[in-house]
Amino acid sequence: MKRTATRLGVALAVASLLMTGCGRDDDNGSGAAPGVTDEPCPEAVDKEKGCIYLGVLSDFTGVFKGVGVPFSEGQKAFWKKVNEDGGIGDYEVDVTKYAKDSAYDPDKHAQLFGEIQDDILAVAQSLGTAHTNAILGDAEKEDIVIAPASLASSWQLVDNVLEVGSNYCGDAMNSVDYAVDELGAKGVAVAHFPGDYGDDAAVGAKVAAEARGIDFTDVPSEPGAADKQASVVAGILKADPDVVLVATGPIEMASIVGGLAQKGFTGKIIGSIPTWNIALLGEKKLVPALQALYLQATSFQTWEADTPGYEAMRAAAGETPPSDWYALGYGSGYVMQAVIEKAIEDDDLTREGMLNAAKSLDGVESEGMLPEGAANYAGDPNDAVIRETAFNAVDPTTASGVKQEVAPFVGPTAKDHDFSESACYEQY
């Protein structure tokens, strides 16, 4: 026993010596800002250049992996092209090393952000609204700029979030206006995920329905296939609306469309942008229903769009399966690129510098990848909000499975709505 005690004593002494003798490495590398190094990127084109690390918090295995995976691939393609074209200043950009899979779980999202936050300059992709909200507090503390893969109506209220495109709330308003004006709808139902994403669309629809004086029915949904959507379908049928707004994932949307079609529903079903996935075309029995009933509300163009940006993107994509999410990921790069360039221009490539650069950004040349007026963070938030929405219909002949059916327009509700007070979803 004495021997054990002695041995432990020695071990303790050695351990404490080790711990006090050589302290832990408290600073982050070469003295530059977090996420900026003089060392080349892991997959550098030019080994002479330093590296800027951007974090990616996406969904590779969860409900929205159909969004997260192509989105991330698009981003990678964008930055690969930027790096090949000489990078930004003395740096190249890496979006691979700190790419994490949150599996569409806000808690895991927050946890992963904690893991990478000391190693990145900014977040190039934060997928999900509630998810981005979960890290917003910490990010604000550290002045970290975030590019969200989410179109919530709250982002224009936050300085460090670089939103692009119209939000779910505005899209929903436009959808209702469209239904009333073009389809003569008398009633609208919204099937949506619980949570900020679904609620945002629901509130938009509700606001528009009230403004236009038509019936509104709220039908909460939840992730899951046909068995989980049965009650949703039942709820919609009971309300008997002329148009149904859907803010879920693609599987849920497909089940709802299928269920409604089965029961003879003939109105329109307008889904938020994340409700479409090209794989639904594999569901042969379902395609006719989708073609007949479904519209996708979005402010972005589809894969085959005829702009220089899309052309370059298609070239960069090569063999990658076409996906509008890929295009969105690719396009979002323009904004981050502009912010980094401005920060370098200001000779302040730090988090603060990035934030200042972002705040002063009043638009970006995206070669037609982003909607008109995107990336305006300088002016009044309400003015900067993109209010126009286009509708895509299912078209199996196109590369991404959808094709623009209704050109971008701004409905009366969205036009007059003040987005600068609070996020739509907070009014749910």
Partner: protein, 391 residues
Amino acid sequence: MTTPTDEKTTSFSGHQLEETTRRPRRIWGRPGLVTAYAQDMAFFDTRAKLVAVCALVAIAALMPLQLEDDILKLLATGFVLAIGAIGLNLVTGYAGQVSLGHAFFVGVGAVTAAVLNGDPDGRRLGYGITFLPAWMLGAGLVAAVCGAIVAPLATRLRGLYLAIVTLGLVFIGQYIFAEWREGTGGRGVGRDAAVPTLGDVDLTVNGAYTEEQKLYWLMLVILVIFAVLARNLVRSKVGRAFAAVRDRDIAAGVMGVQLGRYKLLAFTISSFYAGVCGSLLYAADGHFSPDEFNLGMSVLFIAMILIGGAGTISGSIMGAMLLALLPRIASELPGFFPFISDRSTEHPNIFEVETALYGVLIIAFLLFEPRGLYGIWHRIRTYWKSFPFSY
């Protein structure tokens, strides 16, 4: 079946031959010469244990000066999980009541703490109580009350029936959490977790020490307190009653152990620990959502106690630490096995490997080392204890 009174008359214990007033003395160098029951049941029954545990705690306390923040965070999470694992071990490992409902009580704790601590003017319900012990114990108490409410149903059932019913608790709990948006933030959204502050110091803000260092110390202190409490509990009359219920509940009942009472107690205490665990579990990430408290979390806790060692406090801690570090271990794997990708688009990738590894760990431990990490430790200890022989 002998009656306990029969035993007394067999020798002269009824008379004053043994003095009870005197403190039991320890005879130097003779740990086996136990002269009092208290000594036999002592917290540290040997000096080596005392020294070893003190040394371990001391080393653990010094770690933040040496280790990087990301590891510290994992370790701190491990400490908190260990509190929950100890709780589950009390009801499952010690009292033998298999519970798959632990996640529910953890959830109750997390929600309660968040509600108590939350900003009164915030988006969600909050009472603005910043005093850490208040919301931590409050969370534990509310969870304990839930445990006490559930216990009567649980005491009617045994074995796998009980396991499935407690599993139902998780589903019902998730439903309630999802419905109560005011408190929980709702499914898929969640809310900010309780913020650990001591006095005016917000432990989640970097200062002279980083957030991770401060949280690590906080969790270490709390874990030590709760581990000591649990250890004291299981070496008491209550602990022995638990063991009796576990080993053969009918026999225990015949011997005068009030089954209902002790099962109730086991569930209540276990839930209290779970509640405390839940209140602290999200301090580092600052956010949680009700989707967390699902079957997977219950299984995680079960895995902790089985991998650590059922019916041991130290095993609970070891199991929790291993599972807390598992993601990190998995993320190191691609370095050793190049065929494992760290990109989620390729297969097999580390995310899959991590999850699979977890399943494999469970299977492997139960197949090869049913007593878990504690069993391994026990073997090592026995190797030296039995030195220079093998038995």
